[in-house]
Every structure is written in C-alpha cells, then in structure tokens.
C-alpha cells in the first residue's frame, strides 16, 4: 500500500496575491487600488466636465457629421472628390495625401541618406567634410523652419505661369508647380500592361531560382541579361509589334494656368523636399553608425577571399550592418510620416490640414475629429512597431541558428 502524496494546502490567497499584485504582494494591490481610484476620479472629472461643457455649448456629439456634405474643395485629390462629398471622403482624401507625401519622402530620404552616409565614409577628405557639414546644418534647424524656407523663400521666387521655365517644351516649372505630360492609354494599353507585369513576375521568379541555385548547389547563374531583356526588351517588342499603346497629353498655357498634363503642386514639392532632406541627415548618421559597427576584420576577410571592395560591401558588410540600421531607420520613417503633419503650415491638404483643420472648424466637433486623427497616426505607428518586433524576432532567430 502506498501512501498517496498529500496535496499541497490550497494557497488561494497567495494565488490571488500573485495575480493581482505581481511580485509586490498586498502592498502592490493597495497601491493599485489607490492608483485606480485616482485614475477613475480623473476620468470621471474629464467625462463629466466634457459632457457639461458640450451641453452648455450645444455642440453635437457622435460621428454623424461624417455623412454630412463638406462643402469645400481640396487642392490635391488622389480619389475623385468634389465639394458635395461627405466629411468621411475628406478624411480619406487627407489620409491618402498624407500617405503619398510620406512614401515619396521616405524614398527620397533613403536615397539621399545613403548617399550622404557614403560621402561621410568616403576616403575623400573633401567629400567627407561636405557630408558632415550637410548633416550638422540640416540636423540643427527645425523641420518646420525648413519647410517654410523651401515654400516661402525658394519656391515663391519661381516665376508665374506665363513666364514659366520650360524644360524641353514638354514640362514647365512655375510658382504653380511642376507640370509634366500625362500618359493617356489608348487601344492595346491593357495588353501592354499585362506584358509589363509578366516581365516583372518572370524576373522575380528568375532571381529566386538563381538564389536557390547559389545557396543549395553553389551554382552561380548569370541572370542580369535575361532580366534586362524581360523588363525592357519585352515591352519594347510589344510596342514595335502593336504600336505605341499610349499617347502623351502635353500641358498648354490656357488662361490663368496650364491645362492638360499632370501637375505637382508646390506645397507637395516643398514638403517632400524639406522632409526628405531633413530625415536624410538622420538616416545618414544611422547608416554610418551601422556600417562602422561592422568589425573592420570583416572587410579584410572579404578582400582576402578575393572579393572586390564593392562586392565585399554588398555581400558582407551591408547585410550585417542592416541589423543595426533597420530598427532606427524604421523609426525615422515613422518620424517622417508624423512630420508630414506639418503640411498644415503651408496649406498642403494632408490629414491634419483638411480634417483636423478645415473640417474641425466647419463642424466644431473637436473630440471626434482629433481622436480620429490621432487614431490614424497611432495605428500607423503601432503597425510599424508590430512589424518591427516580428523583424527583430526573425533576426535574433537567424543569429541563433
């Protein structure tokens, strides 16, 4: 006969203590209660004050206003929009404008940032100094200052449309922005697009295949001539066979402005310029720090294997540097997106400008509108940080392997 092990005494109290108070026990629970009480009190005060104030001021509450007519026009719209559309539509228009300026800004900022970083790391003394001066000047001036500088000083100095600067007679620069020819699809345009897409897909597949061959069998396949052929040759052949599938609509000066063509408004140009040059200075520092963080022995080992400087950089140094670079780089991208809200200062119709600015003053519903605006930015940054933690997890896993 065996004696069954006695059950441990029930430690309900201890369990509750652990769950509620963490490591600090009953003290912690007491503190939490006090804290919750204070929070509750503040929340109560805020809600009751807000309700009383709204009632006093006869401000409508709720999101019903989103279905109302906005009644004002917007300068740059990516989706069709007129003054008789709803505030919800205004919200979307603003959001898209924010996203487009952010994406374009991010692309330029990355390119400029890498170039400046390479300048700073360059063995050429003059270039390194120029890079340093660029970074120091740009980093030490407020971004709003730079936006206003580009908009009020530089772009305002451009001539009016009638005296605009002509670029080869097809594009025009004036203080109303840059006007470029717009491609208009004609018959066979869809087929052309399909061919183009096919070319891209085939190139990607080719590259995946080549990499697999390299990693699994150690076989080098030269793919770039085929990729070139697929990307450029194929569409060219289609054009030769079927004729040009699109024509260009040339801008023409008519009345006050250019008619026809696509126009990039100066507010967009100023904002993109300022944001990308500003962020580029920070990106340059991040990239530089990242490349410097890779041990110099790596470079030497690469060259002892007979790799050229460029190849060593590309295959050995940069992949290792990327681990250091990517997290702060994403942070900068996020900063750029948030800084794009400064558009409100120069009248570029971004989310803050048309929604938290114009719509707010037309409707007076501050709480809903500001909450929605903040929510959008919060969502963007939460998604980014979620993606980043997945990335970090993968990096640490691959390092562990």
């Amino acid at each position: 006969m065996s004696i069954e092990a006695r059950k441990p005494p029930p430690q309900i109290a201890l369990k509750i203590r652990r769950v509620l108070g963490g490591k600090t026990g009953w003290n912690g629970i007491a503190v939490q209660f006090a804290f919750a009480a204070v929070l509750g009190w503040i929340a109560y005060e805020i809600v009751s004050n807000a309700r009383a104030n709204l009632e006093n001021q006869h401000i409508a509450a709720g999101f019903g206003f989103l279905a109302n007519n906005a009644g004002f026009d917007v300068n740059q719209t990516l989706i069709s929009y007129t003054g008789s559309d709803t505030f919800l539509r205004v919200f979307l228009v603003g959001l898209l404008n924010t996203l487009v300026v952010s994406v374009v800004g991010i692309v330029f900022a990355t390119v400029i940032g890498f170039i400046v970083a390479l300048c700073r790391l360059s063995p050429n003394w003059l270039l390194a100094r120029i890079g340093e001066i660029y970074v120091e000047i740009i980093r030490n001036l407020p971004v709003l200052f730079q936006i206003l500088f580009w908009y009020l000083a530089v772009l305002a100095a451009l001539p009016n449309p009638r005296q605009s600067i002509s670029l080869l007679g097809i594009a025009f620069v004036s203080n109303r922005g840059l006007v470029i020819p717009r491609p208009i699809g004609e018959s066979g345009f869809e087929a052309f697009l399909v061919v183009l897409a096919l070319g891209i897909v085939a190139s990607v597949v080719l590259r995946i295949h080549a990499r697999r061959a390299l990693f699994q069998r150690g076989q080098m396949i030269r793919i770039w001539p085929y990729v070139l052929g697929l990307l450029f040759g194929l569409p060219l052949v289609t054009i030769l066979v079927a004729g040009l599938p699109f024509s260009f609509e040339l801008p023409q000066l008519k009345g006050f402005n250019f008619a026809g063509g696509s126009r990039i408004i100066p507010e967009f140009v100023a904002l993109t310029l300022a944001l990308s040059t500003y962020t580029a200075a920070f990106i340059a520092e991040i990239v530089r720090a990242g490349i410097l963080s890779v041990h110099s022995g790596q470079m030497e080992a690469g060259s002892s294997l007979g790799l050229s400087r460029g190849t060593t950089l590309r295959l050995v140094v940069v992949p290792q540097a990327m681990r250091v670079i990517v997290p702060p780089l994403t942070n900068q991208y996020l900063n750029l997106t948030k800084n794009s809200s400064l558009a409100v200062a120069i009248g570029y119709p971004d989310l803050v400008s048309v929604f938290a600015g114009t719509s707010l003053s037309q409707t007076g519903q501050a709480i809903e509108i500001i909450a929605m605006t903040m929510g959008v930015y919060l969502l963007i940054s939460l998604i980014t940080s979620a993606v980043m933690s997945v990335y970090g997890w993968r990096i640490s896993r691959s390092l562990g392997a």
């Binding site: 006093n56 008619a259 009248g347």
Partner: protein, 338 residues
C-alpha cells in the same frame, strides 16, 4: 503620476486663469476688471495691432464700447487675437467673453455652435481681388484660375458653390491665417484672392503696391458680420446687443462723442430717455443709467466709428452703402430705446 500632472495643471492654471462662469458673464467681467474680447489677428479697419500692440478697428471699437458701458473706461479690454479656426472654440471655452471678429451670421453658427449673434456691425459680401495686369473685369472670367482662400471660413464654401453654379473650374489653395493667404496671393501662388469685400479693401493695404490690384464688382454672397456671445446668458446677450443699438441710435439722434454732454442736458424726451436722464433702461441691463453716454464717449456713434475705421476718414475709404442708416438708404436699424 497623472495626479501629479493634474496638480501641476491646476497650479499653473490657477496662476493664469480667468473665471468665466457660464451664466454670469457680466459678473465675471466685472470681477476680472477686464473684458476679454476675441478679435482677428490683423485686418486693417476691423482689428489690427500697431507695433506697440495697441488695437484699432471697427470690431475693436465694439469691444471698447462694451468696456465703456461696463467700466466707463474703454481701455479695460484684453484683446485675444484668434484665427478663423480657433475663434468659436475660444468663445465656447470662455476664453473670450465676446467674439468681435468679422464673423458671418449664418443659421448653422447661430444654432449648432452654441453661440448667438447679437447684431450686424457691418453688412458685407464676398468678393474677389485680382492683379490689374491680368486684365480681368468680371468674376465670370475666372475659369481655371487658382484661388487663395482662408480655411475654415464661409468664404471657402461660397467659393465652391459659386464656381460650381457657373460651371467653372478652379484650383483652391487654403491657408490657416489671413496673412498667409494674402502673402501667397502677393507671391503669385494664385491669381485670385477671395474674402469679404471689406476684407479685400483692408488687405489691399497690406500689399506692397496696392495700386496694382483691383476688387472685382461681383458680390457672391450675403455676409452680415457681427459680434457673438455664448448661449445661455441672456443678460450678457442683451448688453452686447444693445451696445450696438445704442451706437446706431446715437447716430440717428445726432449724438456724437463731442456733443454728448451738451445733448444730455437738452429737454428732448427721446434724448433724455436714451441718454439716461429719464428712465432706468441701463440699470435694467445691469449697467448704469448713463450707459449710452459712456458708450458714445468711449467710441462715438456708429457713423463716427465707421468713418474712423473703414469709411471716408480711413485709408480703406469704403462707402457707407448698405451700412448707412435705414432712413438714408442703408440697412442699419435699431429698435427704439423706450
């Protein structure tokens, strides 16, 4: 943590707050010893500061008149310059007691914003200004033009309506403040600047070469401008309303800042009633008996105020037009004080 912040807020706030209880604005104003008045950030003729921060203009004179009626001292006003966007919030939150900031009276503002218009200080309408060199003579020739407009105003919506109704295309460029808008127009960012016609004349003075610009004849909207107060304080509403009426009545009766003392001694029954030597209308408003005398001494009658700020005696040189008295072909009309 948050408690610390709140305590901090309260401590800071205590230093800089102004009591502005909802239902008793007059008492608050008297306790504070100052009238807090929302004005524009700078619109010559209506409210603009000089280099030393002294404010002048038609809208400013309304504030001065109210302060004169309450304190017998038109200087007891704190001017809060507000952008078009901020103005209603400032009024609602009690930051200002009265909003005298060339604001258009519309039904939606009167009902949904929780504020009341107390009258019309200036009958206006939206117009357009262009460079003379463009050789445009009518707003109907503005197809495909770029238009600068201040955001958060009725003008922005009128503009959309007008171009749509006339089947014209345009590009709108909206800015947060009046100065930014004018600056962008001057820099050539747009061909046309639109706002209330009085504002066009006023802003033209801000341009480097006013002679190069002209105001187009079309008026595309009705824009009655007037002061606003919060809902829910009828006494305060009455004070602001009757201050304006007192100014108009004074003009009707020929009472000016110069002759007000003399007129007060005359035996005319209407003059006696208005100027407070007979009856106690001022006290019923919560003011003193001689409230009209105080107002007229502070700023003069409506005609004087108009002339001095926007009319013939000012750089703007705007005609009285609709703003003349009702018996001289205009719309300014005050209910009788009796």
């Amino acid at each position: 943590m948050k408690r610390v912040i709140l305590a901090l807020t309260l401590a800071l706030a205590a230093g800089l707050t102004a009591q502005a209880a909802e239902a008793q604005t007059l008492k608050t104003v008297k306790d504070r010893g100052m009238l807090s008045c929302g004005v524009s950030q700078g619109l010559p003729g209506f409210s603009s500061p000089d280099d030393k921060g002294n404010w002048t203009g038609l809208d400013v004179d309304v504030c001065r008149a109210i302060a004169g009626a309450i304190f017998n001292d038109p200087t007891k006003v704190k001017y809060v310059p507000l952008s078009a966007k901020d103005r209603f919030t400032a009024l609602q939150s009690g930051e200002v007691d009265v909003l005298s900031r060339n604001t258009t009276w519309t039904i939606s503002r009167d009902t949904s914003l929780g504020a009341n218009f107390t009258g019309v200080t200036y009958y206006d309408g939206q117009g357009f200004m262009v460079k003379k060199s463009l050789k445009v003579n009518s707003a109907l020739e503005l197809n495909s033009a770029s238009v600068c407009v201040q955001t958060g105003t009725t003008t922005e919506q009128n503009l959309a309506d007008y171009f749509k109704a006339n089947n014209m295309k345009y590009e709108v460029i909206a800015f947060g403040t009046n100065d930014e808008t004018v600056k962008a127009y001057e820099a050539g960012r747009c061909d046309v600047f639109t706002t209330d016609q009085s504002g066009l004349y006023a802003n033209r003075l801000k341009l480097a070469n006013p002679g190069d610009h002209m105001v187009l004849p079309e008026i595309i909207s009705k824009e009655p401008l007037g002061p606003m107060v919060r809902h829910g304080d009828d006494q305060w509403f009455d004070i602001v309303k009757w201050t304006l009426f007192a100014m108009i009545t004074a003009e009707e009766l020929g009472v000016t800042a110069k002759n007000v003392d003399e007129k007060a001694k005359q035996e005319n029954p209407e003059l006696k009633r208005v100027l407070g030597t007979d009856g106690n209308f001022g006290e019923q408003l919560g003011l003193s008996k001689d409230w009209v005398v105080r107002i007229v001494k502070a700023v003069g009658n409506y005609g004087e105020v108009f002339d001095r700020n926007v009319g013939a005696g000012s750089p703007l040189g705007i005609n009285r037009g609709l703003n003349n008295l009702w018996n001289k072909g205009g719309l300014q009309y005050a209910p009788p004080i009796r």
